[in-house]
Amino acid sequence: MADERRTLHEVKGVLPPPSERIPVLRWLKQNLFRSWFNAILTVVAAAVILVVVYGLLRWALTEARWEVIPTNLRLLLVGTYPLEQMWRVWATIYLVVFLFGFSSGLRGGLIRRVSAGVAAVPIVLTVLPLPWGTRGWILGTAAAVAVGLGLGYLGKGNRWSKRLETAGWLLSFPISILLLNGVGGFLPVVEGRNKWGFMLNLLGAVVGIGLSLPVGVLLALGRRSKLPAIRLVCTAYIELIRGVPLISLLFMASIMLQLLLPANIRPDLVIRAMMTITAFSAAYMAENVRGGLQAIPKGQYEAAYAVGLKGMLTTVLIILPQALRAVIPAIVGQFIALFKDTTLFGFIAILELLNISRSILGNLEWRGRIFELYVFIGVVFWILCYTMSYVSRRIEKTLGVGER
């Protein structure tokens, strides 16, 4: 195409289109110094950036004592998870990472780019001053992605491989939890579940979203139901939960649950936190799903009835798949919010990342390393949340949600 056009220009003597490239000076004038007001803005903004960057760099390179992070890295990430059981954490990571690889081998597109990121992270991480054993485990994750990718390619076109993929993702959820927690009789149960550090933040968000999705779908359907009793109860639940802060629900779970349950049922702290975050998230999920349901045109219902589908089947086969597809970005957004909210677990004496950092600060050796720890926590959350919001924006684009 480009070649043809060039010949056309040469033959007929038509001028080529103006170059896309703008000279540096003109770019500066257009983007930075368009008017005197703009010039002042540029100077002020540049000054702000310089001061902040200079201050940060000077602190990070000279004053900060970063050894607090690598020394306590295990404590921060997995808390008191016993060293001899660490293979279970790695096995969980390998399982998830393998599934990423498998999916990208099977599908390509966005998921492949995500998997490339997943595989690139361990290679970057090995630069950090970590013990050689840990480096080996980390590099293994890249290998797991590769194995998954290979198997995915092989299975491409096979109709069983897609079912295998779905089953894998669905099963990975209970398998991970059983693997980490332990199963009576097979794997020893790990004690001190409330001190797992960053793992609890991740688990909290995954469990919260995973369990709240079905509940949220039911609540959303209930809120749109034609039956007034069901509609009223669902609406009341959604609005009550959305009207109060999560931390007050956590407070309620920490002191009220033992009053509301019979004396022989005493769920431990982590279970309580997970129940709370699920109940909380379900209300928000319901509103997201309701948004998706409202976006389905009436013709879809009518067409389904015309084909002879009954109410339940219409919902499950026709409406929900479309509605859920449309709200994937919103669900990712909720996942990010929930992930950030898991830092509130510290309120009910759960040692997640933020709270465990405070117990490290209580140690005399690390007193005063507060900036380093908070910057580290901020960066960890930032990287994960930013990546997820990037992925969600890409999904939005591929789904064309914005355009419809």
């Binding site: 540029t42 039956l227 109860v233 999560l246 007050s248 009220m256 919001s389």
Partner: protein, 394 residues
Amino acid sequence: MEKRKVVSSHAIPFWRDIRVLRVVSQIVFLVAIAAGIWWLLNNLQTNLRNSGLSITFRFLGDTAGFPISEGLTYDPTNVNVYAFLVGVVNTIRVAVIGIVLATIIGTLVGISRLSSNWLVRRLAALYVETVRNIPLLVQLFFWYFAVMLTALPLVKDSISLPGSIYLSRRGLYLPSLVPTASFSVWLWFLLGGLALAIVVYVLRRAQLKRADRPGIPIGWAAIALVLVAVAGWFIVSGNPLSIDLPVLKRFNFEGGLWLSTPFASLVLGLAMYTGAFIAEIVRAGILAVSKGQTEAAKALGLRKALVLRLVVMPQALRVIIPPLASQYLNLTKNSSLAILIGYYDLLNVGTTIFNQTGRAVEMILLIMGSYLTMSLFMSLLMNLYNRRIKLVER
């Protein structure tokens, strides 16, 4: 017609009749919910009886007995319910100041993200992406524990800023205005000025409407108010307000207005965090106004500022208001994180009362009830405003 109906109702057995099914399914659902609630309440009753408690709100009249360092005038000998009220007022104080600041930050950053200046645009985007993707609690801890409690000096060597403002680990001390004896007289002038301002506003509004011109004549009303207030200031004998400067005594400052460090960190953290979300809402709202509108306004010869104020903003507001309202609600709910940095908001006072009295059910009802009331009140206000703005649409 009559005959066919009879036939059809005979043809469908009752367990497949949609009308019967509807009623039955609702009854089953309600019974299931009621059974669940009954089970929970039954457990509650058993558990309470075992620990020798009963549900009563009489403890609210007992002496609180714990200190609250800021907010309304309060003494540990005051009753529990008053202590709780102090907490509620503190929450409202944080929420109102936070909302105002967050709106200012959000609007500025949101407009900056659409600036024609590359550097400003990037800086605003950097701010939004950084602040949005870090948990609010981490930010609050950062401001409170890392910045305010370690980077600021002790009280005895406070940073003193011009105008008798002192900054230290204890907080920010500002000069405050204290009413004097002649204040009550001047208050009448103030009220009169307010009345005049309202009259001016209504008249000018009607005049604008007759001329079919847009605009909210808030400036005219403000001028009327200020004129009367200033006139009153000179007419009344002696200054109605005196300035109270904070003075460093042996251990601490006395006098003046005190904003505690937890309060300052909470307001700062909430305003910056919510401001980033509001910036995105403002940006989306402005982008939602089609470009033709701006071009048409420019073609009419309006200046850039007027284009924004008279053409873009009124249309953008319709898109902005609903999500903005939910951000305001979020800020109010997020102010409950105060408990983790030691500010006495309603949750903090509520849990303290619970710790003192052991009244779990009652305190949770009170706390949840307060938050729900605030949320409902706020969404009511926002819905009213939203409706008013929508009326402009034709």
